[in-house]
Amino acid sequence: MRRKNEAPQPCIRPEQPGPALERVRERVRTCIQCGTCTGSCPNAFAMDATPRKLWRLVLMGQTREIFETRTFALCSDCYCCTLRCPRGLALTDAMADLKQIAAAEKHGGDPACTAFYRAFLRSARQYGRVQETRLMARYLAVMTPRRPLMPFRFSGLGLQMIKKGKISLRRPAGGRTLEGLFARIESRRNGQ
């Protein structure tokens, strides 16, 4: 967000956003800034910019400010805003668009979410199905240097699950990998 001593940006003429952000802007074009999304969002209390403010930033093409917020990264896909938006805007999908732009351009977003999604998809790609134990091991390996206490929060639950035979290091069942599918999508993305 803008720092205190920084001059306010002129907000008469919106900036020209890149094509990816243009898609998001198209989604929220008819936003009337009523704030129903913010009032409906279970995670708004933890966000630095409210969802309503984020849509305004999108409409104004304030790219830098958008990706400095944690707002879109904290969306947990509950679809309350989408359901209640009086303009019928697909706001949860717009949040997902912003997550995708942050992931593709490797700026903004939340480092823990990024690490988790990456570990998740790596497992799905390799085995076809997610191997939850290996996913958590990979995720914690990335996160522990940043947040040394993080593994302790999961250790109790992890031990319970091992004791009950719910988690193991076995390969998931099913033999179909998603390696080819991921590779084809990657080559399409690069070909754009």
Binding site: L121, A124, G174, L181, I185
Partner: protein, 286 residues
């Protein structure tokens, strides 16, 4: 009654008992489940946070595999996140033919094709519409009378698609639990978000959401859920959350089919209620 069955990744490990209980009650209710051959991961919330094509192509693989089975078209899905992802592809097939064609082009190299015929349905949809409270009532041998249950629906089986219940004030699970004899615990948190994967990535957010839900359920004996993510979030961190907030919010959290199965007289072992794969909180912590 025949259904295709998409268990999803969690039901093979951390939510094993949900798989057991689902299979057990559907069998007892006279429904045949045909597991989709070689199904793969739906992408959960990870794929849609990274790439829009991936978010559709991953669930489309399993739906196209479902269409190779000719004897059934409805796909029973117990996990709410899997359900929503599969449903999104199904909706795309109905409303966005160009996007569907693009996804099918990606699938074609593996000789897969999704036409839109295989229809994903959440387990709560099938239990409440196809079987119905009356169908459940006929099977009840051990009424849950005296057990105060708070029905917890979560988000993605209700929203954004309005399919079988009111997305803000759902009642489908209430009727099923009432048929099983349970006393319904009235509360306002039934369709509130548990924070999903934020319990892993941004626990300070999810912890607050889960605390509010658990605190609101404090007059109930148990919570009933229909999603592996909700179940783990609501039950797996109760000790930690209780100590963080200085308030005891511990309560058992069951899957709906476990409670229905108990009322139908099915053995605890078949419902994953035995020591091997039952509640994830230490008994001493209950």
């Amino acid at each position: 009654m025949k259904y295709l069955y998409y268990p999803g990744c969690s039901l093979e490990s951390t939510a094993r008992e949900y798989d057991l209980a689902t299979r057990a009650i559907m069998h007892a209710l006279g429904a045949e489940l045909i597991e989709i051959p070689d199904w793969t991961c739906c992408g959960a919330t990870a794929a849609k946070a990274v790439d829009r094509r991936l978010a559709l192509a991953m669930p489309a693989v399993s739906l196209s595999l479902a269409e190779t089975v000719e004897s059934a078209a409805d796909v029973l899905v117990p996990c709410s996140a899997c359900y929503l992802n599969l449903k999104q592809v199904h909706e795309t097939a109905a409303t966005a033919p160009r996007t569907l064609a693009e996804i099918n082009e990606i699938l074609a190299e593996e000789s897969l094709h999704y036409s839109g015929k295989a229809r994903p349905r959440h387990i709560l949809d099938i239990l409440s519409k196809d079987i119905g409270p009356t169908g459940i009532l006929q099977q009840i041998t051990h009424s849950l009378s005296g057990l105060r249950v708070a029905p917890y629906y979560g988000c993605q089986c209700l929203r954004p698609y309005r399919v079988f219940d009111d997305p803000e004030a759902p009642t489908s699970m209430d009727a099923l639990l009432a048929a099983a004899g349970a006393d319904l615990y009235p509360w306002s948190m039934a369709a509130r978000c548990c924070g999903a994967s934020h319990m892993t990535t941004n626990a300070e957010v999810s912890k607050e959401l889960v605390f509010r839900i658990l605190k609101s359920a404090s007059g109930a004996d148990a919570i009933a859920t229909v999603c592996p993510m909700c179940q783990m979030n609501l039950e797996g961190y109760q000790g930690w959350i209780s100590s963080r907030y200085g308030e005891d919010v511990r309560i058992p959290v069951y899957y709906l089919p476990q409670l229905l199965g108990l009322a139908m007289g099915l053995p605890a072992r078949d419902l994953g209620l035995d020591a091997k794969s039952a509640r994830t909180v230490a008994p001493s912590a209950q």
